[in-house]
């Protein structure tokens, strides 16, 4: 899982590829490299962030490819950084994904080829070199070589004796940008959005040849045409706008992101929700079981969704980490699989989804990314409309995912006749109040900064909650561990006494979700348990009576069953400021990357 850029044309190739890599750094940042083609092949690559890449000695040329890496096979070293080259130093290759049979391929090649890295990728340039003994062009060689590759890949290659770039896509995203007099390549549109917004999404099995004047796309040896789409994209949205980190900018962008998520989807008078689904009411009535598949933060949104759906519909709901998922249901036609993925490219989620749809289940995706792979593999997509999220730690997309599942729950509840008017009004009322409630939390940022300073040096942090408070406890703990590297865990509040209580000491603050929708009175008993062990207690509450049981009571604005989500925003700020106190690389935490396109 990495980022790929490429450029063919008359402008400053160096500069364009380097900028593209910077924009893609959120996909991986443990090593970076670029190859410029023409008149010679010039490769510069090294371990470390894109900004460390020294391009002063590489020559400029008419086309090039770039790569920013998040290691899967082989440690982050200069040798393992992409691009990789063949023995003759005429072919350079960058790759995102995993070549699963690379070991076998490498064994076959070792007799006649010298390998310099431990990566799976390096087999590709050597295979291309072999193929070129019999094939007339790099394009033909790529078509031959991809037959032998198993796994997922987006590959870009360039040959010193040929014009342009040859690319191949299988299960990893690859997008072509059409400039006025040139062509761009990227793992996503952020790579080149400053230059063009006319794009072509490649599909699985596609192999394309990009030159300055043309793009020719082939699938299974046949020439195919793929549409050119114009995307709406605001390049300023990928800048920090005066904030120290993207994450803080994105935290503060949540009220607006939520208004966009809700816009035009709710008819306040009738209480109807319109998500423009193609799955009709009859189909949705026949569904008996919903299987939510997701990873990481999206999984936490899935846990929230399960609680919502089980409370407000008669559906049987499971939520599974996508990597642990197996489709075992007997009646696929009565099963709806709900895939939640911010990027729409999460390999684990796509794989789980395919297993279910392959068996005949209905499917809905909740994603933030137009044109992403998941949108092409489901019956319906509900976009969360949160806008680009660059910080690796998800913030606004979690809140928007949950808001979107409230809409979906309302729709399913109304269709199935399990949701009465009054409850519908309450749900939709909470949604409408959410942007304003979150704004109030953002206006109190100084409170959370002070709280973070006070507790930053603690040994560990425990988050507890019940019902809707439980996924928020999980998500808030994940946020802290992702960006501050502190030990943080979320538990169902009642589970504390069944084990984790042994970890609680006066140096382990316990943060409790004590809002509506979180069975706060019962959780308060768990707060008393940890209080008697001397742990500092921090409670997020809308009930002023709770303050006397807590070391710190954080008053939240009222927002019905979405109050735990408001608590989550407060805890995002807490996590941010703990990490900031420790001077962590908040937007690029170690070992993590945003869009996880490997299983």
């Amino acid at each position: 899982m990495c980022g790929i850029t490429g450029y063919v044309g008359g402008e400053d190739c160096h500069q364009i590829i380097h900028e593209g890599l910077k924009n893609l750094e959120y996909r991986g940042y443990d090593s970076a490299g670029i190859a410029i083609n023409g008149p010679t092949l010039s490769v510069e690559k090294q371990q470390g962030e894109v900004s460390n890449l020294d391009l002063t000695t590489t020559t400029n040329g008419a086309c090039g490819i770039g790569h920013t890496r998040w290691s899967t096979h082989g440690e982050p070293t200069d040798e393992n950084a992409h691009p990789h080259t063949d023995c003759t130093n005429t072919i350079a290759v960058v790759h995102n994904g995993i070549i699963e049979n690379y070991d076998d391929l490498k064994t076959d090649l070792l007799d006649s080829h010298v390998f310099e890295s431990e990566t799976d990728t390096e087999v590709v340039p050597h295979l291309l070199e072999e193929a070129l003994h019999t094939q007339p062009s790099l394009l033909a060689a790529m078509q031959a070589v991809t037959h032998d590759l198993d796994g997922s890949y987006a590959i870009a290659a360039t040959h010193v004796d040929e014009d342009g770039i040859v690319v191949a896509r299988q299960d990893s995203p690859l997008i072509i940008g059409h400039g006025e007099d040139d062509h761009y390549l990227g793992s996503d549109v952020t790579a080149f959005a400053d230059h063009t917004r006319d794009v072509t999404y490649l599909e699985d099995g596609d192999i394309a040849h990009l030159t300055q004047d043309a793009v020719h796309i082939y699938n299974d040896g046949e020439r195919v045409s793929r549409p050119v789409e114009t995307i709406e994209w605001d390049a300023d949205a990928v800048e920090k706008a005066g904030y120290d980190h993207y994450m803080l900018k994105e935290i503060h962008g949540q009220p607006r992101a939520l208004r966009q998520a809700l816009s035009g989807r709710v008819d306040q008078l009738s209480g109807r929700v319109d998500l423009e689904l193609s799955l009709d009411s009859e189909t949705l009535k026949d569904v008996q079981k919903v299987e939510v598949v997701a990873c990481g933060t999206s999984y936490h949104a899935g846990v929230y969704a399960k609680e919502l759906l089980e409370t407000h519909t008669d559906l049987d709901v499971s939520v599974t980490h996508a990597s642990e998922y197996a489709f075992t249901t007997q009646n696929p036609g009565e099963t709806l699989v709900l895939a939640i993925t911010q990027s729409g490219e999460t390999a684990d989620t796509l794989s789980a989804l395919r297993e279910a749809t392959g068996a005949g289940a209905h499917s809905i995706a909740i994603t933030n990314t137009l044109g992403s792979t998941v949108t092409r593999e489901v019956d319906d997509t509900v976009f969360i409309r949160a806008g680009p999220e660059i910080g690796v730690a998800a913030t606004k997309t979690f809140v928007s995912q949950v808001a979107t599942t409230v809409l979906l729950t309302t729709h399913l509840g109304r269709v199935r006749g399990t949701l009465d008017h009054q409850t519908t009004d309450e749900l939709l009322g909470s949604l409408r109040d959410l942007p304003g409630a979150i704004q109030q939390v953002l206006d109190e940022e100084a409170t959370f900064r002070d709280l973070a300073r006070e507790h930053a040096e603690s040994e560990a942090f425990f988050y507890i909650g019940r019902r809707y408070g439980y996924p928020v406890a999980l998500e808030s703990a994940l946020k802290l561990k992702e960006i501050s590297y502190d030990h943080a865990e979320g538990f169902p509040a009642g589970e504390l006494k069944h084990g984790p209580l042994a970890l609680v000491t006066p140096d382990t603050p316990v943060l409790a979700i004590l809002t509506e929708g979180a069975a706060s009175e019962r959780t308060l008993n768990n707060v008393k348990e940890v209080d008697s062990r001397g742990a500092p207690t921090i409670g997020l509450t809308t009930n002023p009576d709770h303050a006397r049981f807590l070391d710190h009571a954080i008053d939240l604005p009222e927002c019905g069953i979405l109050e735990p989500l408001v608590a989550n925003v407060a805890l995002q700020l807490f996590a941010y400021h703990v990490a900031n106190e420790k001077d962590r690389a908040i937007d690029k935490p170690r070992n993590l990357a945003k869009s996880v396109t490997v299983e």
Binding site: D234, D236, K249, G264, Q268, D433, G436, Q439
Partner: protein, 390 residues
């Protein structure tokens, strides 16, 4: 776009201040973010700069800067925006010093909370190009003692006094807050004796070169008091006409005047009447049978059925209960130890405030943030934040 007068035209916008006379709205946002015709004052300033041909804008931000940064992040601005932070608000000169590392040549400096025509900016710049001397825009005012009063002799500014007492006002000319300067100003600011705050105007009077005035009689709007915001909002709407975001939903039976502006995702329900001079922010809900006139409504506000709201400012995320009456009209308002008589001011309601059903606001009332007015209650005068009125 105006005529480009130099290869790169830079501007520094001073937007770090709070603006206390607009309390309680300025508890949660800086004064430059108060909306006029649904766009913050600061956005009007940025647009005027762009129209005058400015390529690069440095925004000096400080107090509640997140509100400014969030606003400018989501639009496509035809200009380079850079932020510098003034951590403590120690005066306009101090604010300008924060931009020094980004300024290599001559530049425009401008206040971020006043609406000016782009032609004023162009004229100030042209005068500077001609004279190579510091230039300051001056305007005529009926109430000069509210501003910096400027004395001019023989085409040179000889004195600037900030908010002098009425009896000491010797001129009707005031500082309009637009300057053309070069980097020599920075050392002069540093060397000028500061009395608690470093004022740009004090430094200007210490320059070796004469400061030239550019007098102006066009559009120049300043929001000194809450009622100014209502009046200016009305005048700008008259000028721009109706602007309704494409995501707005207006019920077919509602009556909506031509001079209104509705922000994204707002909803106007059945039989509601929205009359002239009214602005709705984002995600505002106007209930059935509501009558709304000459009012500025911020984002996430809910106005429930049959409420009447006139000549009023409603803060963000506030809820107006059914049947509430804010009758509007003339009032005497006490503010800053002075009483202002006969101002057209139905009231100002802070953020996150809740008015129950059938509540009443007497004209001129100012409610803080997080105030609760219980059903049937009446509010008058000045009500502190976090108060409950039964």
């Amino acid at each position: 776009m105006g005529v480009e007068l130099s290869p790169v035209m830079k501007a520094v916008v001073l937007a770090a201040g709070e603006g206390r006379r607009l309390w309680p709205l300025t508890e949660n946002r800086p004064k430059p973010m108060l909306p006029v015709a649904n766009r913050p004052l600061l956005e009007h300033v940025v647009d005027a700069l762009v129209d005058a041909g400015v390529d690069e804008i440095v925004l000096v931000v400080g107090y509640k800067r997140e509100r400014i940064q969030n606003h400018f992040v989501d639009h496509d601005w035809d200009v380079d925006l850079t932020y510098v932070v003034q951590d403590k608000q120690l005066g306009t000169g101090h604010a300008l010093l924060q931009a020094e590392p980004l300024i290599g040549g001559e530049f425009i400096a401008i206040n971020g909370d006043r609406i000016v025509e782009s032609s004023l900016i162009s004229r100030v710049w042209e005068e500077h190009q001609k004279t190579q001397e510091p230039v300051m825009a001056v305007a005529n005012s009926e109430t000069p003692s509210r501003y910096g009063v400027v004395d001019v002799e023989d085409g040179v500014i000889t004195g600037i006094r900030e908010r002098p007492p009425q009896e000491l006002v010797t001129s009707s000319l005031i500082n309009a807050g637009v300057y053309a300067l070069d980097p020599s100003i920075f050392s002069v600011i540093r060397e000028t004796e500061s009395r608690g705050e470093q004022r740009l105007t004090d430094a200007l009077m210490n320059m070796d070169l004469p400061v030239r005035p550019v007098q102006f009689s066009g559009l120049w709007l300043d929001v000194s008091f809450p009622w100014d915001l209502i009046a200016i909002n009305g005048s700008v709407l008259e000028y721009t006409g109706a602007e309704h975001d494409s995501s707005v939903v207006i019920d077919g039976s509602a009556v909506v005047s031509e001079t209104t502006s509705f922000g994204a995702h707002s909803v106007v329900q059945a039989n509601a009447t929205v009359l002239r001079g009214t602005t709705l922010g984002e995600n505002v809900s106007v209930g059935p049978n509501v009558v709304l006139e000459n009012s500025v409504v911020l984002s996430d506000v809910t106005i429930k059925s049959s409420a009447t709201v006139k000549d009023c400012i409603i803060g963000a995320n506030t809820e107006i209960g059914p049947g509430t009456v804010i009758e509007g009209g003339s009032a005497a308002v006490a503010l800053d130890d002075a009483v202002y008589r006969d101002v057209k001011f139905g009231g100002l309601i802070g953020d996150n405030t809740t008015l129950g059903g059938n509540t009443t606001l007497r004209p001129g009332t100012i409610l803080g943030n997080h105030v609760t007015l219980e059903s049937g209650a009446t509010a008058d005068g000045h009500v502190d934040s976090n108060t409950t009125i039964k």
